[in-house]
Structure formats: structure tokens, C-alpha cells
């Protein structure tokens, strides 16, 4: 029997090794797997590479991980947001490496990892500093940049509902990076508001099919 439910967030994040590459979903606080990130904080994992659109807020979650110097590298499109002082301080001290990636390229690189694509050519960033050192190539007279897959050891994501197989549905703009990150990691862990019986999710409206999900935990918020 397939049952990807785990009892609590501690169990959900168990086994995440020091030195892992982690994908954190969410756009700002929306769709962010807050409880899973807190559990990861509590787990003590360190030397992490984190892929996340933003850099955390205040002194909780990703911001706290950075404040505790447990993130050695952040792959990010927009690290400066309201109250991102933990990241800014670490960055000013040289205590964290930043790989700045255009938001769509970040998303497409994760899709490539999930889709078995070893590289793709995009116009995005061609002719800019962010293409420095990257291979470029002309197609039909335009310059494209070769981008490589961005794969996670673990993805922490958030959805509205799941069933025990791990099928997921989301709510409004809280969908954002969650489906693409679910595809792009060896281990995908989803926190959901509610776990419903198998068959209760309409097969036409499932956004993330169960094949992409390894563990689910109900957080009931």
C-alpha cells in the first residue's frame, strides 16, 4: 500500500543531510512551507545550499537558517525584500555565497532537472552581467544563453490538500514554485492543510500528480 503520510514535521524532514541542496517553495510568504522549514531549523542540518525565490524575512525560517550561518549558498532571484536583514548581514560579511538567477531561468532550470533536460538555450540574460562566464550561442541571429539543470536533494513544499499517494492541489497564487520544485528534487516533502481520502481529489484538477511527492504531512493551519 502506498502511504506517504508521516506523523509530524520532525519525521517529515528526517534524514536531510548536512551539505544538501534544498529547494524552498513560496513567493515571499505565500506558498512557503513554514512548518517544514522550522522543523529543518530544529533538525540542526547545516552547510546547506538553498534555492528560494527570496531570502527570508525577519528572523524566522530561512532568515534564521541564514542568521545561524547554516546556509553556505543561496540561489535566488530576489534576495532583497522587506526585512531581509539576516541575509543582507551575512552577505555583507561574506558569510554566504549568492548565485543570482533570473526568476524564470531559475524556474526553468528546476523544470529541466525534473524533465531530464541536460541544458537549454534561453534569451533571458543574454548580453548582461548575469550571463558572464556562461556559454552563448546564436539561433536565427539572436543570442541565447546555455543554462543547466538546477536539482535539489530535497524540496520542501506546501499545498492545500493531499491524498495518501501524494497527489496535491494548491490555493490561488500559493501554487507558485511548488509544482516545479516538487519535480526537481530526489526527495519531495509536502506540508498540507488537509489530507483527504484517496479518490477524494478530482483527477482532472490534481496539479502535482503523486509521482513527484515522497512524504506528506498534515499541518492543519
Amino acid at each position: 500500500m502506498i502511504d506517504k503520510q508521516v506523523k509530524n514535521v520532525t519525521e517529515a524532514v528526517s534524514g536531510i543531510k548536512d551539505g544538501s541542496t534544498l529547494l524552498f517553495a513560496g513567493f515571499g510568504a505565500v506558498g512557503e512551507p513554514v512548518e517544514l522549514i522550522q522543523a529543518l531549523l530544529d533538525s540542526g542540518a547545516r552547510d546547506l545550499t538553498v534555492v528560494c525565490n527570496n531570502s527570508g524575512t525577519g528572523e524566522v525560517g530561512l532568515a534564521k537558517l541564514i542568521k545561524e550561518r547554516r546556509v553556505t549558498k543561496l540561489v535566488c532571484s530576489f534576495p532583497r525584500t522587506s526585512d531581509s536583514h539576516c541575509f543582507e548581514e551575512a552577505f555583507a560579511e561574506g558569510a554566504i555565497e549568492l548565485e543570482l538567477v533570473p526568476q524564470g531561468t531559475m524556474s526553468e532550470r528546476m523544470r529541466a532537472a525534473g524533465a531530464g533536460i541536460a541544458g537549454f538555450y534561453t534569451k533571458t540574460s543574454a548580453g548582461t552581467k548575469l550571463a558572464a562566464g556562461k556559454e552563448t550561442r546564436e539561433f536565427d541571429g539572436k543570442t541565447y544563453v546555455l543554462e543547466k539543470p538546477l536539482k535539489g536533494d530535497v524540496a520542501l513544499i506546501k499545498a492545500l490538500k493531499a491524498d495518501r499517494w501524494g497527489n496535491l492541489v494548491y490555493r490561488k497564487s500559493a501554487r507558485n514554485f511548488n509544482p516545479v520544485m516538487a519535480m526537481a528534487a530526489d526527495l519531495t516533502i509536502a506540508q498540507v492543510k488537509e489530507i483527504v481520502p484517496l479518490g477524494a481529489l478530482d483527477p482532472e484538477i490534481i496539479v502535482t500528480p503523486s509521482i513527484f511527492v515522497d512524504r506528506i504531512v498534515e499541518v492543519g493551519q
Binding site: 513567493f27 515571499g28 505565500v30 506558498g31 535566488c76 532571484s77 530576489f78 534576495p79 532583497r80 525584500t81 541575509f87 543582507e88 552577505f91 555583507a92 549568492l98 543570482l100 538567477v101 533570473p102 526568476q103 524564470g104 531561468t105 524556474s107 526553468e108 528546476m110 523544470r111 534561453t122 534569451k123 533571458t124 540574460s125 543574454a126 548580453g127 548582461t128 552581467k129 548575469l130 494548491y170 490555493r171 490561488k172 497564487s173 500559493a174 501554487r175 507558485n176 514554485f177 511548488n178 509544482p179 516545479v180 496539479v207
Partner: protein
């Protein structure tokens, strides 16, 4: 000199959005454009975080924390709107499905180069967000910006001083002083505010301007 307010720049840009267009509004000044789209036009607003059909800011009591725009402000969805994931949102951008992206800028060059992502201040980390994807991918890029910096330095330049977001992509520029098109022959001023002549506009512009034969007064209602 009757220069435009920020809201009037947004108003002017809104008048050029055709009925039925799919439009992305950048953070800052362009966000104001949504208030001024003529009522007889149906325009579909796209947001990088997975929305087509964004509506106005929510009324008091109708805020939904799961429904935000690319600037992370609360927003709404209008009938016909749809949600999708980030990857499809950027597929729409990169794939040339967005008709118009209205963006802010630090600088625009006479070749249509756009600089709007970093001022290279070593004291703060850079951020790019979706700026490069939009600049490289949308069918048409139009820029809204103050003609000059607070210090009076020109923002429309021979060459951008700041790092580029994308080279050669800007088609039209709306400022507090003028509407300027980027053409293969160079920059063409199409509209200039009352009380400023072409020579005066050129003075405030580093790049060389031409004046359209059919140029007219840039005017906007009090908005």
C-alpha cells in the same frame, strides 16, 4: 512647464494599451497603470507568480493572503482569470505570449537598451526577480520613468551607465516630460509637455533626439 505626475505618466501609458492585450505591469510606477486603463477596453493583467486576470486591490475585508501580485501586494482576480504555476507563468513571458510589458527603469539607451535591475551599490546585494525574463521575452517593452534623476542627471542616455537588463528591447518611453519612441534611426520624441520646447527636452536628455513631424502636446487629466 506642465510636467506630468507619476500617476499622469501611468495614465498616459494606459491609453496606449489596446483592447484585448495581455499585459505585465512591473513593480513600482507601472503598477499604477492598472487604475487608468480605459473602461471600454478589456485588458488581461499577468503576474509572474502565476496569475492571469489580476483585478484591483481588494476591498477592505476581502483580502486573501494567498492572492498576491508580483510586488507581493494583495490583489484580486477578475472573471476569466486563471491560476497556474511559476513555470507556466514564465513560459508565457519567455515564449513571447505577453503582448506588452510596462516596466520601470533606471536608464534607457538610445538603442533601446534597458537597465532596471541593479545600481551596483556594493553595500546591498543585487536582485533581479523577473526583470530579465520580461525584458527578453515580452513581445513589446515600454518603459515608464522620470526623465531625470532627483539630481537632474539624464536617464535616457547614449549608453546605459548601469548594468543592462537586456540590450535593444525598449520600444517606447513614457516620462514626466515626453513620449519617446525607440526607432531603428534613433529616439523620436512624439509628445512633449506644454511649456517645454524640443531644445529644452534635448537639454534634459543625454541621447540625441529627433522630433516627430506630427509631434503633439503631452497632456494628461488630473488623476
Amino acid at each position: 512647464m506642465n510636467q506630468l505626475s507619476r500617476r499622469q505618466i501611468a495614465w498616459r501609458a494606459a491609453q496606449d494599451i489596446r483592447d484585448g492585450a495581455y499585459v505585465n505591469l512591473g513593480i513600482g510606477l507601472p503598477t499604477l497603470v492598472s487604475d487608468f486603463i480605459p473602461k471600454d477596453r478589456e485588458v488581461v493583467l499577468h503576474s509572474e507568480n502565476g496569475i492571469l486576470g489580476m483585478g484591483p486591490a481588494p476591498k477592505k475585508g476581502e483580502e486573501d493572503p494567498d492572492l498576491i501580485n508580483a510586488g507581493k501586494g494583495l490583489t484580486t482576480l477578475i472573471p476569466g482569470g486563471a491560476f497556474f504555476h511559476h513555470n507556466d507563468a514564465f513560459l508565457m513571458i519567455r515564449g513571447g505570449h505577453i503582448d506588452i510589458a510596462l516596466l520601470g527603469a533606471y536608464e534607457v539607451s538610445e538603442k533601446g537598451d534597458l537597465a532596471n535591475w541593479t545600481v551596483e551599490d556594493p553595500s546591498t546585494p543585487p536582485g533581479v526577480g523577473g526583470a530579465m525574463d520580461l525584458a527578453a521575452g515580452a513581445k513589446e517593452i515600454r518603459i515608464l520613468l522620470e526623465h531625470n534623476t532627483k539630481e537632474g542627471a539624464p536617464r535616457i542616455r547614449k549608453q546605459c551607465q548601469y548594468p543592462l537588463t537586456a540590450p535593444g528591447v525598449v520600444k517606447r518611453i513614457y516620462t514626466n516630460l515626453a513620449v519617446i519612441d525607440v526607432t531603428p534611426d534613433g529616439l523620436v520624441a512624439r509628445e512633449i509637455v506644454q511649456g517645454l520646447d524640443f531644445a529644452g527636452l534635448q537639454d534634459k536628455t543625454e541621447a540625441r533626439l529627433m522630433l516627430a513631424n506630427d509631434w503633439r502636446m503631452l497632456e494628461a487629466p488630473a488623476v
